[in-house]
């Protein structure tokens, strides 16, 4: 009982913006210093709250991109042009600004070493963010769990973390398979279509090897991939999903 008693309520923190990195023309990573941050697990998210001068508040959830052992808390945010929060975070925020957030929240879509593997990650667009925290965590620990990422993007320019993923594939044994659904550069030999059953058969470990599967992205992609994997014999309890919905805001 004593342990439950010391668990604090979910409270808002004032984070300092340390660094901003443009990942693609629409996507930016925000490195934060959060005083008294209690730490997080790979796959968790935070709630971010913006307050206008007239007191109006808007709140959205963003996945944490950084591994627990990294020095800063990093969020990676995609600008949704009709959003209330993301245009500010992607276009206006400057180093030295303050940002209100609370968390980490969520204990379901989480990978830790104890969960084991092999681990199949399936991402659509900015759905790669919580999966990247898992990849970075696996690499940061020097852990040898087999990791394979199937990553659907519209075009090569829109591949988030492209250089880092290339590096991790070359140096750290993370297998990365891209599919580019809308346009492909000259000479592209990879997949060039939406994720389908054939692609999942080719990329995934068979169900008999009992991979842990994490799928994150737009709702339709997530549901299509999850139901296909279950139809291929994967245990639904090993197929974890995080749907972004049609938009995030």
């Amino acid at each position: 009982m004593a342990r439950a008693a010391v668990l604090g309520r979910l409270t808002w923190h004032l984070a300092n913006v340390v660094e901003l990195v443009d990942e693609t023309p629409r996507v930016r990573s925000i490195a934060l210093d959060v005083p008294d941050w209690a730490g997080h697990r790979a796959g968790q998210h935070v709630d971010v709250r913006l307050t206008a001068e007239d007191g109006y508040q808007a709140q959205r959830s963003y996945s944490i991109a950084s591994a627990p052992e990294q020095p800063h808390l990093v969020l990676t945010v995609e600008r949704l042009d009709d959003g209330e929060v993301s245009p500010y975070l992607v276009d206006e925020l400057q180093p030295g600004d303050k940002l209100e957030l609370r968390g980490p929240v969520g204990g379901y879509f989480v990978w830790t070493v104890e969960v084991g593997g092999p681990v199949l990650l399936v991402a659509g667009g900015s759905g790669v963010v919580p999966l990247m925290a898992m990849v970075r965590h696996r690499v940061g620990l020097g852990d040898g769990t087999p990791f394979r990422l199937l990553f659907s993007s519209r075009s090569l320019d829109e591949v988030i973390y492209r250089d880092e993923l290339d590096r991790l594939a070359a140096d750290d044994g993370i297998e990365v398979v891209h599919t580019l659904t809308r346009s492909q550069p000259d000479g592209w030999t990879g997949y060039a279509r939406r994720i389908d059953e054939q692609m999942l058969r080719e990329v995934s470990w068979p169900a008999a090897e009992q991979p842990r599967v994490y799928i994150c992205g737009p709702t339709r992609l997530v549901e299509s991939v999850a139901s296909t994997l279950v139809a291929l014999g994967h245990d639904p309890d090993r197929v974890k999903t995080e749907r972004f919905g049609p938009t995030g805001g």
């Binding site: 998210h45 609370r102 929240v105 969520g106 204990g107 379901y108 879509f109 639904p236 749907r243 919905g245």
Partner: protein, 90 residues
């Protein structure tokens, strides 16, 4: 926009649950009162376009949890949930 586009996972309720409960509920297992299916709440389909959030059973689609926050209060309905099994805080 269709309902399917607006479907999220119970995982998306982590912030609101965290405001209310000391235990982490998205990784807690819950039993559907209608069909008896047991799953982690984070895995259940959830709808957020109602005035609050509605968590449904992934098997039979019956409502398991309704939660509304506004005007300085929370309204919580658990009629569709037989029980919840949550871990002690880490």
């Amino acid at each position: 926009m269709e309902d399917a586009d607006l479907r999220l996972d119970g995982n998306a309720a982590a912030g609101m649950f965290g405001e209310i409960f000391a235990l982490e509920l998205t990784s807690a297992r819950a039993r559907c009162a209608s069909c008896g299916t047991i799953a982690e709440l984070g895995a259940e389909p959830m709808y957020v376009h109602a005035p609050g959030i509605v968590v449904r059973c992934r098997n039979c689609d019956d409502v398991m949890i309704v939660a509304v926050h506004g005007g300085g209060r929370y309204w919580l309905g658990f009629t569709g949930t037989s029980w919840i099994e949550a871990r002690e805080p880490l």
